[in-house]
Chain length 396, copies 2
């Protein structure tokens, strides 16, 4: 066996232009090692984006995310437009200054939230009318409005407004939504005015591979800065998620970042990285933490379980996060069953560290062309089908 030699990557530019470069490839899989340059630093890809729906990652302070090595977080245009409102964010000079986060920010358009939180929303070609889930007030978002909002937020990556359908939607509804998403993407592209902001389109088409092909074929020639795959992880069987993701990623341009929205488990991330996706977001590490579910090198554990009551060892003996360095399972369980805020803080810190550390390992493996072996070391056999075929919806 020849010695493993890591690819020599170019150093980040001091003042990079916003954009994406593929730096190296795994060779053995479709994984890529890339770099997304933004006005708020570079993002080494594949990357995981902690979810900060309201401009803040739940339970965390921004400096703690920096310490964990997060380079980009995700906000949500729908949520932020309703609360605190774009006027408040504008008054602060943008979402970065508002929330005190110095790294990059990507905002989702809120299409998913508008359609999932509003059973009574009314859509027409111009846009979508919906009621605020907070106070019932009526709002109307056109694709142009959603770009304008994100330009006001000053985020580094904006997502186009998309029409989302349920996993069990009828074929004609899926088709109509996909076509409308494409027309809206064109209008979003025409509406943009900020050169320092990248805009990503969202490939839709439900679980129908032929529709996904049409969606991608229409969107790619428009020349977006990046491409996302939406409409997955919405309640469908997990093997279907993987199949659609696998076929769709191959429709996306090689030289642009590919973002798989709203997934997934730590093991799934390994598979999606191997397929060639570059960016991910998921509430799983943060929400599970607040529910007491912990990701470890030995699998998941529920901190509430009585077996941890007198366990003076760390959450994960292989972990170097501050929760594992300084506290026992016993103490963290005590905090959790007592309803102490510090429990949510320490578990969130640990779970995000687990996700971000995993991504860092995957990046190094891609540089060395050893992703398959690294995946195996993580317990993921890239040649076997994904473990779980059960539906598993996660809010993106």
């Amino acid at each position: 066996m020849s010695p493993v030699t890591a690819a020599v990557l170019p150093p980040p530019d001091a003042t990079p232009k916003p954009g994406f470069r593929v730096l190296s490839r795994d060779g053995d899989t479709s994984a890529r090692r890339g770099r997304l340059s933004t006005a708020h630093g570079t993002v080494e890809t594949p990357t995981f984006m902690p979810v900060g729906t309201l401009g803040t990652v739940k339970a965390m302070a921004p400096w703690e995310l920096e310490q964990l090595g997060a380079e980009i977080i995700l906000g949500n245009t729908y949520h932020l437009a309703l609360r605190p409102g774009a006027d408040i964010i504008a008054r602060h000079g943008g979402l970065h200054a508002f929330g005190g986060w110095r790294g990059a920010i990507l905002t989702d358009s809120g299409g998913f939230q508008i359609f999932s939180l509003n059973s009574l929303c009314r859509i027409d070609e111009d846009g979508v009318e919906f009621k605020s889930h907070l106070d019932g007030s009526r709002h109307f978002f056109r694709p142009e409005d959603v770009i304008a909002l994100q330009e006001t937020f000053g985020v580094d990556v904006a997502m186009v407004l998309d029409e989302c359908v349920a996993a069990d939607a009828q074929p004609d509804a899926v088709l109509r939504a996909m076509e409308r998403t494409t027309r809206w993407a064109r209008r979003a592209m025409d509406a943009r005015t900020r050169a320092d902001q990248q805009v990503f389109a969202i490939v839709q088409g439900g679980m129908d591979v032929a529709l996904r092909e049409r969606s991608a074929a229409d969107l790619v020639p428009m020349g977006f800065d990046g491409y996302a795959v939406g409409g997955l992880s919405v309640g469908e069987r997990r093997d279907l998620t993987h199949r659609v993701a696998h076929s769709t990623v191959q429709l996306l341009p090689e030289e642009r970042p590919r973002y798989l929205m709203g997934v997934g488990t730590p093991d799934e991330l390994v598979r999606f990285v191997a397929m060639g996706f570059d960016m991910f977001d998921c509430v799983m590490p943060t929400r599970n933490a607040r529910n007491g579910t912990v990701f470890t090198s030995q699998g998941k554990l529920a901190i509430r379980n009585a077996e941890h009551r007198d366990d003076t060892g760390p959450l994960d003996p292989e972990c170097a996060c501050v929760a594992c360095r300084q506290f026992s399972r016993s103490f963290i369980r005590h905090l959790f069953v007592s309803g102490e805020i510090l429990a949510a803080r320490l578990l969130t810190t640990h779970n995000l560290h687990f996700y971000l550390e995993r991504m860092a390992r995957l990046r190094r493996a891609i540089e060395r062309g050893t992703l398959r072996a690294e995946a195996a070391a993580m317990g993921v056999d890239l040649d076997a089908p994904p473990e779980s075929a059960s539906p598993q919806g996660e809010q993106r």
Copy 2:
């Protein structure tokens, strides 16, 4: 007017013996500048102890308390004995290691909690039987048990078990409780075995100055390491709190630390320091923070109020805490109304900083003999009666 000259204080010893020294006096008031030496560092007095009932100060990590300059925190024997249980704390080698706090710890005995949380507790000369507020299980605490528990916890200062009565208790009930507290204090003193742990007695006697005098006269000859004034701030009129505190502090030995339990507002602390108290604890900064009430140099504010919605200024323009340095009122209000954990974190940080910074200013003023002027600069006229005469109970 002669120039102000600060007292030259001796430096802390490298390996101090547990104990207390009065380092200097204000002269103009009864305030003292002291130093409590413990096996976990020195505590400069007057000091405020953040409340960490369950071994953790709510919403805070131990390193954040260190950064704020806290030197001692308060735990609660009753609560810790029930959850997580003394066996768990022993298994970690003590409360310091369990909770990851490197500074000093004082634990309250839990007398106040046993009597306030258990309307059906049964007291006899041997001790008190009570039901756990968590699961209804029955427990029996003798004064000796409470010392043994605190020795197991390995805390730096232990409090004796006291019998507490309500503010409106009949005179004969107050008398009986005071006398029993004294007899229990003797038993606690005889039960102690650790030379590295200081034990404080608690002066009781309700609002009756004559009973307070008897309580102190009986306890002081026993030679405790420090003396606390209990049974105040339990619902009585606030002017009465101040009157009883003022007369009782004069009954306590000059050379021992004097701890006024469970108070108070920032302005009250100034008055109690001027009376000659050295140590304080109160849930007010932490609990108020979680309720959205903020202490500032301009008085209290409710962060929920609409006036803060678009205020890009800090909570307190005169504050140097991380919440004020890095975030606006508008952002913190957004976090608060959204139920984000970070709101509780930032507001707790700010309020504790306010309390601890105030104590630091008072210490410097005592060193210079200028406490009256410093109090006036804080808006407290030591020659006028306390502002509010309304009852204001705070759990200690």
